[in-house]
C-alpha cells in the first residue's frame, strides 16, 4: 500500500487518431487540493473525465485507494471492466460539471437524495437528513423544494456540489465549475469549494480561476499540448522562470497574486 490516495501512471488517451494526452503521471495524497491549469485543448477536462471513468483511456493505470480502476489485465490483454463494476468504482469519486447537469425534473432535495437512495441504498429518512445537511452547508436551505430552473447558475452549481459531496467520495473532481457562470455568481461557488478544501477534502480542480488556484491549492499542474509540463507548489508554478509556455499562458490571465478579495476575477 502506498500512501497516495490517487496514483496515475503513464496515462494515455486518444480520440480516434487524435492523441489527447500521454505520459501523465500524478500522485495525490489524502487531503490534498490539486489544481490543473492549461490552455483549452490541453487535455485537462479529459484527464478529469478519465479519473471518473467517464472516458475510456488507452494506456496506463489509475489507482484509487490502492485499487486499480476501470481496467484489468486478462493475460496480456487489457480490458475495460463491465459498466456495473465501473459504476461501483465511481462511487468513490464525486464530480462537479461545468454545466451543472442537475436533473431538471427533480427538486433540489431529490437531486441530492437520488444517489443516496438508489446507489447507497440509504433509507428515505437517512438520505433526506444527509441531503439537508449538505444543502444547508451550501446555503440553500430555503431552496430545498425548488426546481433547478428556478435557481440562478451559482445556486445550481452549489446544489451540484452538494449532490456530489453528499455521496461522501474519496476525491472530489471539479471540472471548470465556475466557467459557465455570470461573473457576479462566481464568488459564491468558489467560497463553497474553498470551505470544502478547508474541511480536508481531497480535491482536483480544473480551473481558469488562477488566483483561486494559487490560494487554495497544495499543488498545481500545468498541462500543455497533452503533457504534464510542470507540477509544483502554487508558488513554483506562478513564479516560474524556466518554462516560456507557462509564462505565456499565465500572462493571458493577468493574475494578481497579492489580491485578497474573493470576488476578484482573473479573466
Amino acid at each position: 500500500m502506498s500512501q497516495n490516495l490517487l496514483e496515475i501512471r503513464s496515462l494515455e488517451k486518444w480520440f480516434g487518431k487524435l492523441q489527447v494526452f500521454s505520459d501523465v503521471d500524478l500522485d495525490i495524497r489524502q487531503g490534498e487540493v490539486v489544481s490543473i491549469i492549461g490552455s483549452s485543448g490541453s487535455g485537462k477536462t479529459t484527464l478529469l473525465r478519465c479519473i471518473n471513468l467517464l472516458e475510456p483511456f488507452q494506456k496506463g493505470t489509475i489507482r484509487l485507494n490502492g485499487e486499480e480502476i476501470g481496467y484489468k489485465e486478462v493475460g496480456a490483454r487489457r480490458v475495460r471492466l463491465p459498466e456495473s463494476l465501473i459504476a461501483r468504482q465511481r462511487i468513490h469519486t464525486g464530480m462537479v460539471f461545468q454545466q451543472f447537469n442537475l436533473f431538471p425534473h427533480m427538486t433540489v432535495l431529490k437531486n441530492v437524495t437520488l444517489g443516496l437512495t438508489k446507489v447507497q441504498k440509504l433509507s428515505a429518512a437517512d438520505a433526506r437528513a444527509q441531503a439537508e445537511k449538505w444543502i444547508n452547508r451550501v446555503g440553500l436551505a430555503d431552496k430545498i423544494n425548488a426546481y433547478p430552473s428556478q435557481l440562478s447558475g451559482g445556486q445550481q452549481q452549489r446544489v451540484a456540489i452538494a449532490r456530489a459531496i453528499a455521496m461522501n467520495p474519496l476525491v472530489m473532481l471539479f471540472d471548470e465549475a465556475t466557467s459557465a457562470l455570470d461573473p457576479e455568481l462566481v464568488g459564491e461557488v468558489l467560497q463553497v469549494i474553498k470551505e470544502l478544501a478547508q474541511d480536508g477534502n481531497t480535491m482536483i480542480l480544473v480551473t481558469h480561476e488562477m488566483r483561486f488556484a494559487y490560494e487554495i491549492s497544495d499543488k498545481v499542474i500545468f498541462m500543455d499540448k497533452g503533457k504534464v509540463a510542470k507540477v509544483g507548489t502554487p508558488k513554483e508554478i506562478f513564479e516560474d522562470r524556466d518554462l516560456p509556455r507557462l509564462q505565456e499562458f499565465l500572462s493571458t490571465f493577468n493574475v494578481d497574486l497579492g489580491g485578497r478579495r474573493a470576488e476578484d476575477r482573473d479573466h
Binding site: S84, T93, G115
Partner: protein, 223 residues
C-alpha cells in the same frame, strides 16, 4: 323513412362503428407505445449492429402509405394463417396493421426525445454511481416523456384517423358503418359531415387531455 327517423334509426349502427374505431385505436395505441418505447431506447442507446433491424423497420414503415401497410398485413397474415388452418378476423388484422404503422412513428418520437436530452445528464447519473438502467429509469425516461408527449399525441390522432383505412378490409368501424348507412338512407353529405364531427370530437378530446398532462408532468422542465 323520413330524414329524422333515419338518423334516429342509424344511431345504434354508428355506435357499433364508433366502438370498433375506438377499440382498434386503443389497442394500436397501447401496442405501438410499448413497441415504440422499447425500439426507441434501442435506437437511442443500442450498439451499431443491434440497431440495424430496428432502423430498417422504422424507415421502411414510415416510407409506405398506411393503406399499403393495412393491405399487406391483412393479406400476408391471412395467407400465412390459412396455410396452418386459421382464418384471420379483419379486426385483428386491422389493429395489428395500425400498431405496426404507429410503432415506427412512436419509435422515432421516443428516440428523438431521448437523444434531445443533453449528454451531461447521463454523465451526472454516472458520476453519482448509477448503473445505466437506473439512469434510464430515473433520469432519462422522465425527461423524455415530457419531450415526447406532443409528437406522441400527434401520432395518436393519426392512429384514430388512420383507423378509417380499416373500412377497406371490411372492419365495421365508423367510416364503413357510415357508408352502409348512406347506402341505406342516402344523404351522403349529411352522414360524412356527421362522422367527420365525431372524429373531430375524439381528437379534440385527446388533445385536451394531452395538454393537461403536459402541464401536470412538465414541472421543472416546461418552466
Amino acid at each position: 323513412m323520413n330524414f329524422w327517423a333515419s338518423i334516429v334509426a342509424s344511431q345504434t349502427t354508428l355506435l357499433t362503428g364508433l366502438w370498433n374505431t375506438i377499440s382498434s385505436s386503443l389497442l394500436a395505441i397501447a401496442i405501438s407505445t410499448v413497441v415504440g418505447i422499447l425500439f426507441g431506447i434501442i435506437l437511442a442507446y443500442g450498439n451499431r449492429i443491434v440497431k440495424i433491424p430496428f432502423r430498417i423497420y422504422v424507415d421502411v414503415i414510415r416510407g409506405i402509405p398506411g393503406l399499403v401497410i393495412v393491405f399487406s398485413v391483412y393479406y400476408f397474415i391471412d395467407f400465412w394463417l390459412r396455410s396452418i388452418g386459421f382464418a384471420l378476423p379483419p379486426f385483428a388484422a386491422g389493429f395489428i396493421a395500425l400498431s405496426v404503422n404507429a410503432g415506427a412513428h412512436v419509435t422515432e418520437n421516443v428516440r428523438g426525445a431521448l437523444q434531445s436530452i443533453p449528454k451531461g445528464q447521463i454523465d451526472a447519473g454516472k458520476a453519482i454511481g448509477m448503473r445505466f438502467g437506473q439512469i434510464l429509469w430515473y433520469i432519462l425516461i422522465p425527461q423524455a416523456v415530457v419531450r415526447m408527449l406532443p409528437p406522441w399525441l400527434n401520432t395518436i390522432t393519426e392512429i384514430v384517423k388512420g383507423s378509417s383505412l380499416l373500412a377497406l378490409i371490411g372492419v365495421a368501424e365508423l367510416l364503413l358503418t357510415t357508408q352502409q348507412l348512406i347506402a341505406k338512407y342516402n344523404n351522403a353529405l349529411f352522414y360524412y359531415a356527421y362522422v367527420g364531427v365525431i372524429y373531430l370530437i375524439i381528437n379534440v378530446a385527446i388533445e385536451s387531455v394531452g395538454k393537461y398532462a403536459e402541464k401536470k408532468i412538465g414541472r421543472g422542465i416546461n418552466a
